[in-house]
């Protein structure tokens, strides 16, 4: 199983295997550096992207939606190395080399490897990432930076916390010092690569306006606009998903997923509520569900352990739920259904909790009973104030 990356070439979305994506990116980077001195560089690159996209489309069909790595290299070999403008043949070596390429005989699949120095991928930056965080996103950001699962980073921090609380101090310092990734650019910089996705989007937009100018009638323009928007949305969805996606990405669609989802949601909700209740009871009374802590364990260690236990229980649930969510949510029509089911399940959980609370805490039920009279009173107050 290979990871798939969605890219945008000339306003159309394509899914490439990760290896193919790297090759394509290297090819385009090489092209950009080769064309450094060319005044039409932007335009040539977007032409080339369009041409590559067209070749990709020829490879795809209704049963094949992903371009595999081998196909990408074949297409790039077919494209040939990008030549610097023949008019400014300053580097004789480069010209003679590309002249040989012009006959179509030389292998150009090497475009991916002869990446010129200085165009290495952008350096990663360490940011806090709030999506899917537990406290302040420090571990999450560190995990993205190191390209490992956040759970391991969290475990490492907990382990450090056992050692005279080092982990806690380090965490607090990092939470203060490390900036939070808020803009898409920062998020891109955090994980290193998808900044090119931003670049693709920018170029796609340019191509969009360029093409817009060329259409004679309104009908064609509207059609083009609609298609462009649809594809950009698909692209954004995929991007967001890649960003969040620690879970399996290419899950096969299974009808059972639709039925499993509400139960997973329910379990996850219960785990969350249990976790919160346990934490509150621990902090308030120093005991978890009536069980007192051993005398030599400080409360904060217990709280951390509790969070870890929660992570261990909730983590797999979260991943399974996400797999179902995206597995069945992909076709589009079932999205409202998914949201509806989720909402119903959540409403049910809240209702059960409320009814339990009403039974076990008489004060609460009294408070609820007094709500109508309170509203009456408030309404009366407002009315008298109004007059």
């Amino acid at each position: 199983m290979n990871k798939v990356i969605t890219i945008n070439l000339g306003g159309n979305a394509y899914q490439l295997e990760e290896g193919g994506y790297d090759a394509l990116r290297a090819y385009l980077e090489t092209a950009t550096t080769r064309l450094q001195a060319n005044p039409d560089r932007e335009e040539i690159i977007s032409d080339i992207e369009l041409a590559i996209g067209e070749k990709f489309r020829a490879l795809l069909g209704s049963n094949k939606t992903v371009v595999v790595g081998k196909e990408v290299s074949a297409v790039l070999a077919e494209m040939g190395t990008i030549e610097a403008d023949s008019g400014e043949a300053t580097r004789a070596g480069a010209v003679s080399a590309s002249a040989a390429g012009g006959t179509g005989a030389s292998s150009t699949g090497g475009a991916a490897t002869d990446r010129p120095p200085g165009s290495s991928p952008k350096p990663k930056r360490f940011y806090r990432i709030r999506e899917g965080d537990m406290i302040a996103g420090v571990c999450n950001g560190l995990a993205v930076y190191l390209n490992i699962d956040p759970t391991f980073v969290r475990l490492a921090f907990v382990f450090l916390a056992m050692v005279w609380g080092t982990g806690v101090i380090v965490y607090i310092v990092m939470a203060i010092v490390v900036p939070e990734a808020t803009s898409p650019e920062e998020k891109a910089a955090a994980s290193g690569n998808p900044s090119t996705a931003q670049e693709f989007i920018r170029r796609a937009k340019e191509g969009y306006y360029e093409a817009m100018k060329g259409f004679p009638d309104r009908q064609a323009r509207r059609e083009w606009k609609r298609r462009f928007k649809r594809e950009m949305r698909a692209h954004a969805d995929q991007w967001r998903f890649n960003w969040h996606g620690w879970g399996p990405i290419n899950t096969p669609v299974h009808p059972g997923m639709g039925f499993a989802l509400p139960f997973l949601s329910l379990l996850q909700g219960m785990a969350k509520i249990l976790g919160i209740c346990a934490l509150i009871s621990l902090l308030a009374t120093g005991a978890v569900f009536g069980k007192a802590l051993p005398a030599n364990v400080p409360v904060w260690v217990a709280a951390l352990l509790l969070l870890i236990a929660y992570g261990i229980i909730a983590g797999p649930l979260k991943i399974a739920r996400r797999a179902c969510y995206y597995g069945m949510g992909r076709p589009g029509w079932s999205w409202p259904f998914v949201f509806l089911m989720d909402a119903i399940v959540w409403a049910a959980v809240v209702a059960i909790l409320l009814s339990l609370a009403l039974v076990y805490f008489p004060e609460l039920s009294d408070a609820v009973k007094s709500i109508p009279s309170l509203i009456h009173q408030a309404a009366g107050d407002i009315r008298s104030w109004w007059k």
């Binding site: 077919e78 023949s86 006959t103 060329g214 259409f215």
Partner: protein, 108 residues
């Protein structure tokens, strides 16, 4: 060194000429040009053709317009400008002249 290798620089120089020739016949887009060239001595690739076309456009020899295609995004269709026509005619004449000279020389 084979003839093929010896003439690679010549072919490269002539590429602009043959592209002018192809575009003069009808409005074409890049895949058409590549198709017509494939199988000839001038077979080439997008990587060479796009920079060449952009240079020719900068020189005012040709221009393009966007056209819808039946499948996929619109394509650029290239056509010669008046200057391009002129240049093509000049080059054709010049080519005839060179050809004549090459054949004539050494025939005494």
């Amino acid at each position: 060194m084979s003839v093929n290798e010896k003439f690679s620089a010549l072919r490269k120089g002539l590429l602009e000429f043959v592209v002018l020739q192809i575009i003069s016949a009808e409005k074409v887009y890049v895949a058409d040009i590549l198709n017509q060239l494939s199988g000839t001595e001038f077979a080439t690739q997008e990587g060479t053709l796009y920079p060449l076309l952009s240079k020719m456009r900068r020189d005012g020899l040709l221009d393009y317009e966007w056209k819808e295609s039946e499948a996929g995004p619109p394509r650029k269709y290239y056509a010669l400008t008046a200057k391009g026509q002129e240049q093509l005619q000049e080059t054709l004449d010049y080519w005839e002249k060179i050809n004549g000279t090459v054949k004539q020389l050494g025939q005494k």
